[in-house]
């Protein structure tokens, strides 16, 4: 998804103005003129100037579409694949605690393999091996408290 210079400039102009407005109300160090607001205000100023330059170059170079979709994005399957990837990470975020790491990781990697058209048999085997290997490396060896959820306690 490519934004035109005007569009990109407008997004950052708004972001810069919002940052400036937010930072303006931050307090200074007691007894000083400077504080939490100084640095973000300078960033906001820089952002506004750069986005103005982008808008200016965009307008001067002529009018193209405000948002351009590359060829891959016109393919609904590819777009659905990206949406599914994001949803799968969200699925991990919301369900890993209750389901446990191994089941969630199997669901996420198996779905990813299938999205990328890997043979289902190979995908299932790889997904299971990857989930158990990650669990062994991180939970057992490196002692990262990966959630166990519905999974019974593993012997290792």
């Amino acid at each position: 998804m490519r934004f035109s210079d005007q569009m990109l400039g407008a997004i950052f102009l708004l972001a810069g103005l919002a940052l400036g407005w937010y930072s303006y109300h931050l307090p200074a160090i007691p007894g000083q003129q400077y504080g939490a607001a100084t640095f973000p205000l300078l960033i906001a100023l820089g952002m506004v100037v750069c986005s103005a330059k982008l808008i200016f170059t965009g307008i001067r170079s002529g009018t193209g579409p405000l948002i351009e979709f590359p060829d891959e994005m016109r393919n609904p399957r590819a777009l659905a694949g990206v949406a599914a990837t994001i949803l799968l990470i969200l699925f991990y975020i919301f369900f890993s605690r209750s389901l446990g790491f191994i089941p969630t990781a199997i669901v996420v990697s198996l779905s990813m393999f299938l999205i990328l058209k890997v043979h289902p048999g190979k995908a299932a085997m790889l997904a299971v091996v990857a989930a158990f290997a990650c669990d062994f490396i991180f939970r057992t060896m490196l002692m990262v408290p990966l959630p166990s959820g519905i999974m019974p306690r593993l012997p290792w």
């Binding site: 590819a78 990470i89 990697s109 990857a130 990650c134």
Partner: protein, 497 residues
Amino acid sequence: MDVIFQAFGLVATWDVVLTVLAASIFGLFVGAVPGLTATMATAMLVPLTFFMEPVAAVGAMVACSAMAIFAGDIPGALLRIPGTPASAAYVEDTYRLTQRGKAELGLGACVLFSAIGGLFGTLVLIFAAPSLAEFAMKFSSQEYFWMALLGLTCAVFMGTSSPARGLLSLFIGLTIASVGLNNPAGVPRLTFGSTEMLAGIDFIPVMIGIFAISEVIRTVLSGGGGWDQAPKTVGNIFKDWGYMLKTFWRQSFRGNITGTAIGILPGAGADVAAYVSYAVSRRFSKTPEKYGEGHVEGVIEASAANNASLSSAWVPALVFGIPGDTITAIVIGVLYVKGMNPGPTLFLFNPQTIYAVFLIFILANVIMIPLGWGLIKFSKNILRISKQVLMPLILIFCIVGAFASNNAVYGVTIMLIFGVAGYLMEENGIPIAPCVLGIVIGPILEKNLISTLIKSQGDLIAFVNRPVAFAIFALFCAIWISIVYSWVRPKRAAELN
């Protein structure tokens, strides 16, 4: 001398040697897979370093990044797809050599001169860093302020075609660095009521998202796909070493110097070094017309330069805490976690650890030769693994890595947000490097800006009234003037025509 022996003692343990070996193999693998960069390899390694001793952790990062930068040359030579951006400068030459059945000449040059470049950069690091650290002991907030600004300027203007986009990327990074309680007034800033954000945005999930998840998204969009068939066999890579060393020693030396100088500049990394030294090599060559047609001269100079810059980028990182490139930006995060806070005092209080890191640099560049040979022999098997199989595994590894950064799914959320942001940034021509350096340098810049302003009660002259501060300020101005001049000159020329 005592310190050197202590350093030897720290390195010569099974833990450290095995970690360095494992990290090297990991770096070689990631570097050899097209599309996976050395920075991504380093970012993915970070969660594992939490559980290592300081020397093993830093050694793993050193070995992994050096190997990945070298390994990036292999798919470039065999398939014309550079494994890392730092190998892109001379990919045409090495690929043409392969097509002519001389893959061993190109790859042999890459192995040998990468190792020589890396060792040269390491020597400069060993000799320059401690004396520079002694000098840096006299630095005050003004000097650090200008050093930080100099680093950010180089990051924005080197290797980006659009300065406005480079600056916007930097401002994104600085804004991310501003989140949390860690600000001069100690008040919650840009946290929007979230308790997790009070500690700031964790750097490691950001890196994993920006470098790895964005690549997963790109692969899903393009549908994955395999690569062309790699050539079946590569001949003896050691065969032409004598000839190359005798004929092209000047090019190798010049590549080492250019790479080291660019690496020392805060903010410019291995890819810039490779491009600049390839251009320098062509400019001084007797046969510039052969460049890009399968000529080994430019390959020697540029592959020496990218590995030299990798080592010397550690000079500003260790001495000032200001990263030389995106890889050292990640390493600085690990140094803080391991209690080896970068800065001149590191050389004073912890010299044995620093010398141990230097020894690992030498070790990594020496074992690069046998491991590199092994990888070249094995490469056609690696290049047979398709992205469709790799990406889901990388995704799982990233999720666990982001989770391990603070043992909460908050890290995974940050990873997802920055994965999408990284993808959108690259799609829109907004370079990633200034944002990453902005995140690391932002807090240093703010702290020293506010300290100087408070010390001088707002008098701006205080920023330049110390000799060293003035010298760095002058260098900073010179870079800006040259940039403005390079903008104005083509326009002027166009108007005159």
